[in-house]
């Protein structure tokens, strides 16, 4: 039994180290190849459409719902202590600094991360990735770079839209359910949010976009074993990028607070 445990543990450690190594080499190839010709801007634009425009409704629905729920929860919760008027401040700050970026990224990890892995994985098992190489082109340039760049450009944009939609949702609930004046709500939001809050929230999404796209490409390129392999790789990709988003969010929050303090002093 102890031997089995040690063997299992060893396998897990081995898999984890392989994953870290794979991500490191993929990131290195991305950084090296992005600087050299040929460039494929059309592929980046195509991916931006796939990732951005096609995710817009999902992101807006999530943000609207989050904003409305938060306004309701804080509104009824704080009303007991006479703090209903703090709802615009609390909701706007939470959305802009934390929930907007994280929820948008988690939604995209599910939709885009899975899509990237499934698409590349299917190409891999049907030898299309080999064909790209055999025809004298680079899968990093043709497959990885357009997807990573598109994610890096589109995710911050989607987050900005999600922030606005989320606050609009909370405003609707603030006015209709909590009886707050819309102008008062608007004024509170505007005076509470600073440029720093906004930038910090959006800056986090650059890291999240990188995790989603690189992890998606990594699992796609390593897919083996036909359609079953594609399914397994897709699940791993979504789980891994979601965990990376949630864990890195803590460290990024801490890091950005430290930077803010340092800048203020």
């Amino acid at each position: 039994m102890i031997q089995n445990f040690i063997e299992d543990f060893g396998t897990q450690v081995n898999t984890f180290l392989r994953f870290l190594g794979g991500i490191f080499f993929l990131t290195r190839d991305f950084c090296l190849d992005i600087r050299t010709r040929p460039f494929y801007p059309i592929l980046v634009i195509e991916q931006m459409y796939q990732i951005g425009i096609r995710s817009l409704s999902l992101v807006c629905a999530t943000a609207l719902s989050t904003g409305m729920v938060m306004a309701l929860q804080f509104g009824f919760g704080l009303e007991r202590f006479g703090g209903k008027y703090y709802v615009p401040k609390v909701v706007a700050l939470s959305l802009i600094r934390e929930l907007g970026p994280v929820f948008t990224s988690l939604m995209l990890a599910g939709r885009i991360g899975a899509g990237i892995t499934a698409e590349i994985g299917s190409m891999n098992v049907s030898q299309q990735i080999d064909a790209i190489r055999a025809l004298g082109t680079s899968p990093i340039k043709k497959i990885v770079i357009p997807r990573v760049l598109a994610c890096l450009i589109v995710l911050p944009m989607l987050t900005v839209i999600a922030n606005f939609v989320g606050i609009a949702g909370s405003l609707i609930i603030g006015v209709t359910e909590l009886g707050l004046d819309p102008y008062f709500y608007y004024q509170k939001v505007i005076y509470t949010i600073t440029i720093t809050d906004f930038v910090v929230g959006v800056a986090k999404t650059l890291f999240f976009a990188f995790f989603i796209s690189v992890v998606g490409c990594y699992y796609g390129l390593r897919t083996q074993g036909g359609t079953q392999g594609v399914g397994i790789a897709t699940t791993k990709s979504v789980v891994t990028s979601s965990i990376l988003i949630v864990i890195s969010d803590f460290f990024l929050t801490k890091l950005f607070w430290m930077v803010e303090k340092w800048l203020a002093s």
Binding site: Q127, D130, G136, T137, S138
Partner: protein, 243 residues
């Protein structure tokens, strides 16, 4: 005739499984060589190594004077314009139309205008009896047509060497004949080729020389006539007397 392909003491392992122990073979310019062997014998692995899709664990793979084992991925790109690989299932890009698949190597490696590319694609499709399939997606084609498009795409840059991975597997007699005709046509143009196959009629129709891969090494070699008539490993393999 000069050697175009030389494989020396090639060894390859996957995990704990040794697939090749010591493979040696040589292909001269303009020759068409058949590589046969049982399923899982590692024929496709050798073929993939000849274009750098696999690296040997030991030994040398020399193609057009370059040792592929020593080349990095980027250094292989110029060589891959001279060596074409025809995949078993075609490996067509399923997000592109047939015409876009054929145009892919031309767009990547030539300075032809869109009009010239279109002209060349149409001419190639006509030559491969695929007229009218320009705007069709690969998934809408039959298996035989997919293989012909794969062959057309691989040879559109006029390569010096063509590697065929089971080009006639699963095809009806008409499509098999078509592929045989294409291989013979390439041979007439002086193109060197290696054919991995289980299809003995095709191998004996197009190959100048054949090798039998057995137990991780080349167990027999000779002209199709020699190998098919002589009693030995090759005849045992063909008659299903050994794996």
């Amino acid at each position: 005739m000069a050697s175009v392909i030389e494989v020396k003491h090639f060894a390859k392992k996957f995990g704990n499984k040794t697939v090749h122990r010591d493979v040696n073979l040589e292909v001269k310019e303009g020759q068409c060589v058949g590589l046969i062997g049982g399923s899982g014998a590692g024929k496709s692995v050798i073929l993939r190594s000849l274009i750098g899709l696999e690296k040997p664990d030991a030994g040398e793979v020399i193609v057009l004077g370059q040792n592929l084992a020593l080349l990095k991925e980027k250094e292989l790109i110029p060589l891959r314009q001279k060596v074409a690989y025809v995949f078993q299932g075609g490996a067509l890009f399923d997000s592109m139309t047939v015409a876009e698949n054929l145009a892919y190597p031309l767009r990547e490696h030539t300075h032809l205008s869109n009009k010239e590319i279109q002209k060349k694609v149409t001419a190639t499709l006509n030559a491969y009896d695929l007229k009218g399939t320009e705007k069709v997606m690969p998934a809408e084609l039959s298996g035989g047509m997919q293989k012909r498009v794969g062959l057309a795409r691989a040879t559109i840059l006029d390569p010096q060497v063509v590697l065929f991975d089971e080009p006639t597997a699963g095809l009806d007699p008409y499509n098999t004949k078509q592929i045989q005709f294409r291989i013979l046509e390439l041979k007439k143009r002086g193109v060197t080729s290696i054919l991995v196959t289980h299809d003995m009629p095709t191998a004996s129709a197009v190959c100048d020389h054949m090798f039998l891969l057995l137990d991780g090494q080349i167990a027999a070699g000779g002209t199709p006539d020699e190998l098919l008539t002589k009693k030995g490993l090759m005849s045992q393999f063909i008659n299903g007397e050994r794996e």
